[in-house]
């Protein structure tokens, strides 16, 4: 029953599963915090519950949606990533949010890279965008690390966001972008050196 029909994706460090009832407190914790300011938050209890329920409903309505990112070893939740397209979205978006205390370890990169691969290769998407708040520098940098570029000609959600367009499946296949992403993920899994500087998602 329930979220069993949502596909599971495994990567080196992560397991992506549908949002489950047990994960709600972690979701609420982040969505009632300042961390969620670029995702329509902070939300009160009612709003965060309704959004969490909507995350699950989105899967049934669209056939894709947001996964809960779990640590493969501990099963702890780390954030969410996946596809998102509410009524007013011009195109299907690849979206992500990483819990504040797990940021800086490349989890969002690993999760969104895997999600995008699933959408392209399993669902046959021809492309995707990410609608970002221009002040959300962490997410803009992640979009760029994923090879997305700002598309000022594209329609945005409400004019206050900017559209980043992901490389097409053809552009991504056997490309320098893909190799770069794989290498970066590798370096988080097995760091040769620890760079100083501020945390990135």
């Amino acid at each position: 029953m329930s979220t069993d029909a949502i596909p599971v994706i495994e990567t080196e460090r992560l397991v992506l599963r549908g949002p489950e009832p047990a994960d709600y407190p972690n979701f609420k914790h982040t969505f009632s915090s300042y961390r969620s300011r670029f995702m329509g938050g902070p939300l009160n209890a009612y709003e965060s519950w309704m959004l969490y329920a909507a995350e699950i409903g989105h899967w049934r309505i669209r056939g894709y949606g947001m996964w809960m990112i779990h640590d493969r070893k501990t099963d702890a939740t780390l954030g969410m990533a996946g596809g998102w397209k509410p009524a007013q979205w011009p195109e299907a978006e690849i979206a992500w949010i990483i819990w504040p205390d797990t940021a800086g370890k490349g989890y969002a990169l690993e999760a969104t890279h895997a999600a995008r691969r699933y959408f392209y290769s399993t669902l046959g998407w021809e492309g995707a965008v990410s609608y970002l708040d221009p002040k959300n520098l962490d997410s803009i940098r992640l979009a760029e690390r994923l090879g997305a570029t700002r598309d000022d000609a594209a329609q945005t959600v409400d004019g206050s966001d900017v559209c980043y367009r992901h490389p097409s499946p053809a552009k991504l296949r056997n490309s320098q972008i893909s190799d770069g992403i794989e290498l970066e993920i590798q370096s988080y899994q097995n760091p040769l050196f620890k760079p100083k500087g501020f945390a990135i998602d």
Binding site: M50, G57, R62, Y64, L123
Partner: protein, 189 residues
């Protein structure tokens, strides 16, 4: 089972996965579908929805449609789309909800403008009360109603609901009515 298909025509997720369906004499109750958005938006963007969370933009109705579905996965109960048995037209929305901060499940219902005055709301609510008591273990649900919404207060009281102490939700205490345990009937299933 029918499958949801994306633009490539692949089946990605089954439709009849976790929301039960049932019928009353004139109504088929089922989970929400993307095709319901226009009908829902038609009502929730109108003044008719002023006592039930509207008027509101289409985007918020989309969120509510998704939440109404996801609620089933989170609680094991949730909202149904009420459809006309014969042609499948969307008549309204009803079911049980318990968002975060609600002390217990709330029975809610709304019938769209064209379908009021025919006893359809009563039929749906009576069917849901019996279904909830029998299948979900929810025997005496409460409803939160604006006392000004006299039409609905009268309807609830006609079905035996009685005013109880205000129920505390995140917005504060709100007026509430509680339904008695339904008598077993035959107009369901």
């Amino acid at each position: 089972m029918t499958g949801l298909t994306d633009t490539t025509g692949r089946t990605t997720m089954t439709k009849n996965d976790f929301i039960p369906t049932f019928d009353t004499a004139r109504i088929h109750l089922r989970g929400g579908l993307v095709e319901d958005l226009d009908a829902l938006d038609g009502f929730f963007s109108s003044q008719d929805s002023r006592y039930v969370g509207g008027p509101r933009p289409r985007g918020e109705t989309w969120d509510a449609l998704c939440s109404g579905i996801g609620h089933w996965a989170l609680r094991g109960f949730g909202l149904w789309i009420l459809t006309e048995k014969a042609e499948g037209k969307v008549l309204g929305v009803a079911g049980l909800q318990q968002p975060d901060g609600w002390p217990e499940p709330e029975l809610i219902w709304v019938m769209f403008g064209d379908y009021t005055g025919q006893g359809l709301a009563t039929e749906a609510v009576q069917g849901i009360r019996r279904y909830a008591a029998r299948e979900l273990g929810i025997k005496t649900p409460m409803s939160l109603i604006y006392p000004d919404y006299s039409k609905v207060v009268r309807m609830a009281e006609k079905m035996g609901a009685r005013r109880i102490k205000d129920v505390l939700i995140p917005d504060g205490p709100v007026p509430a009515w509680r339904f008695p345990e339904p008598e077993e009937g035959t107009n369901v299933d």
